[in-house]
Symmetry: C2
């Protein structure tokens, strides 16, 4: 089991949190998705590590932007 | 036909706009609902004037707050 923390831009309300959570949750092996709205942070727990591309796609699908640095 | 402009607090994204539009649209006689997100404004076109209480209920139902002054 692995946990990773991402920063997502553009989330401004509970609806945004739901959209991102829903899309990331669909990824293979994801066990838990927690969003900290004020911090723009998404914590993803999964069976195995996920690629940044997978997370980025899911976040984009929800209409937001993954911050990669 | 009548048009009225309201200020609604707490709308921060397109999802919020959808929620408010949906609830206000349900009111009897409403023809059109337009939301100006940056201005926090909701313009309601209806057959006959609506009471502030009706609009306020719909906005509250959507999870936001009508500003009355």
């Amino acid at each position: 089991m692995t946990e990773a923390i991402y920063t997502v831009n553009g989330m401004s309300c509970g609806h945004c949190v739901s959209s991102v959570t829903e899309e990331v949750r669909k990824l293979d092996g994801v066990i838990k998705v927690e969003v900290d709205l004020p911090a723009s942070r998404v914590v993803v727990t999964s069976d195995a590590p996920l690629s940044t591309e997978q997370i980025s796609s899911a976040v984009t699908e929800a209409g937001y932007q993954l911050v990669t640095s």
